[in-house]
């Protein structure tokens, strides 16, 4: 069973050695298609390596908004042998493969970057099909399924471009092979050349020499296809859409960074880690901030010696009244656990943007997983309040980046914004963000009168015990408000206290913030439901980046007459028990979908609502869930499959 894409959309893939421009080629391709009016969803896959290992970029182009990828590829674009060996079997029956014709005789064993496991798998596939162990064998296999293959003599084409440019330095010029490959594919797809040239200008506009060679290469490859091949009959073709007005092509980490800037974050610390560093780098390259009042703002991005320094430095900065964040991934977050408790103990508003990747330990450092949910909500020793909010897609990542700062200040506690690599590194066409959200600073004050009833040591009561668990907060440096902070249990003034009565009062004060947060946080921020009404009997429950793939699978199932509701849990801690119970009240069948081994959300649902999860769909091979495989798994469950736990294994 497969999942064919809608009529006016295709799934496109480019691969190549890391460092050969796969990423920039894919970005140019995506931008070209977006300029033509198509919606884009792009997904990056790469090894933990700088140069040479295989990386690839999948892009879906569609007349409708898309937010997930599929297993099948309609067009495979390559300029090396490995890409063909690794991906040709994923090309759909009517699909297209573009390859380097000079590599047709390459033998599988001669490609050193194809690891032993993959080599064995591909070798067996060829052997079982009775084909040679050569690239040609892979192509024959594709041909036998009905694919069309286009061989391009890249070397000769580069020579021709060199002649046209009057530039004999072919080794340098060979870098344009990536642009030639995408240009050829755009030509086959029938996308206008003007759009491609305009996208190349967007990317290389500031580098005139690169610009001219890339444009020449693009022009050459584009017309080469037109003159050498008859592309009229190719079956994967798309027709232009209406222009996307006021749309951006944006990655999740960019969206989160822009949200931080708008949300008032003025200091961010980080220690380099995949996939979190992209966000900090984007922030740093936008460190000067324009303001509506004409003044200039700025955000300081500090690279620290480790993640412990990153979080503690962020807390120190937050004490001066600045909205401060740090961004990291699992291994770094593990190091931050102790300091997170200090922020909880001292009621410091702090945002930790946590970009999950596949663990445990170093795990699959450049791959996908949602394996840190339980760790994140339980991070740190002892009981202290924190809020954990998970975004489901790139657009949510933007708005949530503002909301998490509001939560941090309203409730004076650390907030963890949970994202993962599937959101941070993916790109998407998105309507330009508009913002109606307000900056809520809660009980934060810059000026304060002398406390008429100071604490027992005669000082301002930063942790004043009163009706609300939220006390007045001032930045360090405020007159009349000298206070103390300590990781020890403390008095209202912040001095160390081991008194049992004070201990209970302070624990109660801090932990009550969780009740307050559950009472005040909007229902939409606790959980969102889709395809759902009070009569919905079959319910899919999930969280985070699986949202797009689930929604599209459900849309297809609805078209086929099987309606499933979807509950996307957004607030993971404190757990919105009441909201989830309400949604699950009439559910007959609950299917939990998560990109981890142990169905971590499922265990929370069981723990808090008492409802058993009927079916679990999980994935932990480091590759994100595709719409295809979720669709297939749900269909199997609906048609009476009684496997209680389905492990998905898609992806290359």
């Amino acid at each position: 069973m497969s999942f064919s894409d809608n009529a006016n959309s295709i799934s496109w893939l480019i691969g190549g050695p890391q460092g050969s421009g796969v990423d920039s080629a894919a970005n140019i391709f995506a931008k070209t298609c977006a300029k033509e009016g198509f919606h884009i969803f792009g997904k990056r896959e790469f090894y933990s390596n700088i140069k040479g290992e295989h990386s690839y970029f999948t892009i879906r182009i569609s007349e409708k908004p898309v937010n997930s990828h599929l297993e099948d590829v309609n067009m495979l674009v390559s300029f090396d042998a490995e890409t063909v060996f690794r991906h040709a079997d994923k090309v759909s029956p009517n699909g297209v493969i573009i390859y380097d014709s000079s590599l047709a005789e390459t033998v599988l064993d001669e490609v050193p970057t194809i690891d032993f496991e993959a080599n064995k798998r591909i070798g067996k596939l060829l052997q079982d099909s009775g084909l040679s162990q050569k690239l040609n064998g892979m192509l024959d296999l594709a041909r036998s399924r009905g694919c069309t293959v286009y061989g391009l003599p890249y070397y000769e084409m580069i020579e021709a471009v060199g002649r046209n440019l009057d530039d004999p330095k072919l080794s340098k010029l060979s870098r344009v092979v990536n642009v030639m490959a995408i240009s050829a594919s755009l030509s086959l797809l029938g996308i206008k050349k003007d759009m491609l040239i305009s996208a190349i200008k967007d990317v290389f506009g500031s580098k005139p020499k690169l610009l001219s060679s890339n444009i020449e290469a693009a022009e050459y490859a584009y017309s080469y296809i037109n003159t050498k091949f008859d592309a009229k009959n190719i079956k994967c073709k798309i027709t232009p859409n209406a222009v996307l007005k006021d749309y951006v092509l944006i990655s999740g980490s960019q969206a989160a960074a822009i949200g931080k800037i708008l949300g008032g974050c003025r200091l961010q610390t980080y220690y380099p880690i995949t996939p979190a560093s992209d966000e900090s780098e984007f922030l740093e390259s936008n460190q000067i901030i324009n303001q509506v009042d004409g003044k200039r703002g700025s955000i300081i991005v500090v690279q620290t010696e480790d993640e412990i320094a990153a979080i503690t430095m962020a807390i120190g900065a937050a004490l001066t009244g600045v909205r401060t964040a740090t961004a990291t991934s699992g291994p770094g977050f593990s190091l931050m656990a102790e300091a997170l408790g200090w922020a909880g103990m001292n009621e410091v508003p702090l945002v930790v943007t946590m970009y999950q990747r596949a663990g445990p330990s170093t795990g699959l450092p450049t791959r996908h997983e949602q394996g840190d949910l339980l760790f994140t909500i339980n991070a740190g020793h002892g009981d202290f309040p924190k809020i954990v909010l998970a975004s489901g897609d790139i657009e949510e990542a933007f708005y949530d980046s503002i909301k998490v700062f509001n939560f941090a200040e309203l409730y004076q506690l650390p907030v963890i914004h949970l994202l993962d690599k599937a959101i941070s590194s993916s790109i998407q066409t998105s309507k330009r963000f508009s913002n109606e959200l307000k900056i809520e600073r809660g009980r934060f004050k810059r000026d304060i009168d002398k406390d008429p009833s100071p604490g027992t040591a005669g000082h301002f009561r930063r942790f004043k015990l009163e009706d609300s668990p939220i006390s007045t907060r001032v930045p360090l440096g405020t007159e009349n408000a000298i206070f103390w902070n300590t990781g020890d249990e403390h008095t209202e003034e912040g001095h160390i206290s081991e008194d049992p009565e004070n201990r209970n009062k302070m624990m109660d004060k801090r932990m009550k913030k969780l009740e307050l947060a559950l009472e005040k946080i909007a229902e939409d921020d606790k959980a969102a439901c889709y395809n759902f009404d009070s009569n919905t009997k079959n319910v899919v429950i999930s969280w985070g980046s699986t949202k797009g793939a689930i929604l599209e699978a459900l849309e297809r199932l609805t078209e086929e007459g099987s309606k499933l509701g979807f509950i996307q849990v957004r607030l993971l801690h404190p757990f919105p028990t009441g909201t989830i119970k309400k949604f699950l009240n009439n559910a007959r069948l609950i299917i939990d979908v998560e990109m981890n081994y142990s169905s971590q959300l499922g265990s929370l649902v069981q723990q808090y609502t008492g409802r058993e999860i009927d079916f679990k769909i999980v994935k932990y091979n480091g590759r994100p869930m595709s719409t295809t495989e979720i669709y297939i798994a749900l269909k199997a469950i609906l048609s009476g499959n009684n496997e209680r736990r389905i492990v998905l294994d898609g992806g290359t």
Binding site: V248, I258, T304, V322, I439, I496
Partner: protein
């Protein structure tokens, strides 16, 4: 504004350090320095780590942030970067700063954030009952150790030098005047300042006691001759006036740093304000940083709307112009 007296910098919080603890001298010296410099109380913040020394802020009547074990430097740097107008002093023990926090000690040296950092150096982990700290020498056996120390010691002065601290000094907790003057110099220094404060632990360090520092058991002398001597008295000047002096002075500082036993140098070994502070480095990229540091920026207007504009950033990502 009325003059602030020494008493104004003291809190009434009960001090639970052991009688005779060297920490008292350091506490007094910090309070005296703040008072002599008339630093407004609300403008000063003492950051501390964990251990006996970690309690210091609670006894000083300025803002006090008692942080985590080993992490005082990043906490303090974060606050100073966000608000350079604050007068921040970081304090901590030798285990705190040179054991668990050694990575931050080195990291801080590379940044050169404008703060003084005092290490209360007593060679033991006092609050956990006297284990060997990173400054206790190999083979030494203080009271609580079961066997002589199996670790070698770290040289704090040399470590500070190679890590990039731009002010390096040593003082002694029972010479409160010298210590107070050193702290004042560390506060006024532009950049990261390190003060290694030698401090007997009367409860757990039975080797390097107050009497030992006074000259007891010093071979070849009948009278007590203090082991500590002041380098300024021998005409040494640690200030770097020209980058060309650095190498020569470095070897002299390393020489000072390895002196121990019969003669222990105290004073200002090194002060180099030619190295740009972290703040000056930020101002290279954000030129109004000192006027509008993060803590001074208004992020929302009266209607709580964000002041930031993101349109130009989005323009760059826009698909069609």
């Amino acid at each position: 504004m009325a003059e602030l007296k020494l008493a104004d910098y003291k809190t009434t919080v009960h001090n639970d350090w052991c009688p005779g603890c060297g920490d008292f001298g350091i506490l007094n010296a910090i309070q005296m320095a703040l008072s002599e410099m008339q630093i407004p109380r609300h403008k000063a913040v003492i950051f501390s780590g964990i251990g006996c020394s970690g309690k210091t802020p609670h006894f000083i009547n300025v803002y006090g942030i008692h942080t985590l074990h080993g992490r005082v430097l990043p906490f303090a740097q974060g606050a100073k970067i966000a608000n350079p107008d604050l007068e921040i002093i970081a304090v901590g023990g030798d285990g705190d700063g040179l054991g668990i926090g050694a990575g931050h000690f080195v990291g801080a040296g590379r940044k050169n954030v404008d703060i003084p950092y005092l290490i209360f150096n007593n060679e033991v982990y006092g609050l956990t009952k006297g284990q060997a700290s990173p400054t206790l020498r190999l083979g030494e056996k203080t009271k609580s150790l079961v066997t002589p120390n199996t670790n070698n010691s770290v040289n704090p002065i040399a470590l500070a030098l190679v890590s990039g601290f731009t002010f390096i000094a040593r003082s002694y907790s029972y010479d409160v005047k010298h210590l107070k003057d050193t702290i004042k110099r560390a506060i006024t220094h532009k950049g990261l300042a390190f003060v290694d404060v030698l401090q007997p632990c009367p409860t757990y360090d039975d080797i390097h006691t107050r009497e030992w520092f006074q000259g007891k058991n010093k071979p070849g002398s009948e009278n007590l001759i203090p082991r500590i001597y002041k380098i300024e008295e021998s005409g040494y000047d640690g200030i770097i006036h020209d980058e060309s002096e650095v190498n020569k002075k470095m070897s002299k500082i390393l020489e000072f740093s390895s002196e121990w036993g019969d003669r222990i140098p105290i004073g200002i070994f090194y002060q180099n304000e030619l190295v740009p502070s972290f703040h000056e480095r930020i101002a290279q990229n954000i030129n109004d940083y000192f006027e509008r540091p993060p803590s001074h920026q208004e992020i929302s207007d009266a209607e709580k709307k964000p002041t930031a504009r993101i349109d130009k950033i989005l323009d760059k990502l826009q698909i069609n112009d």
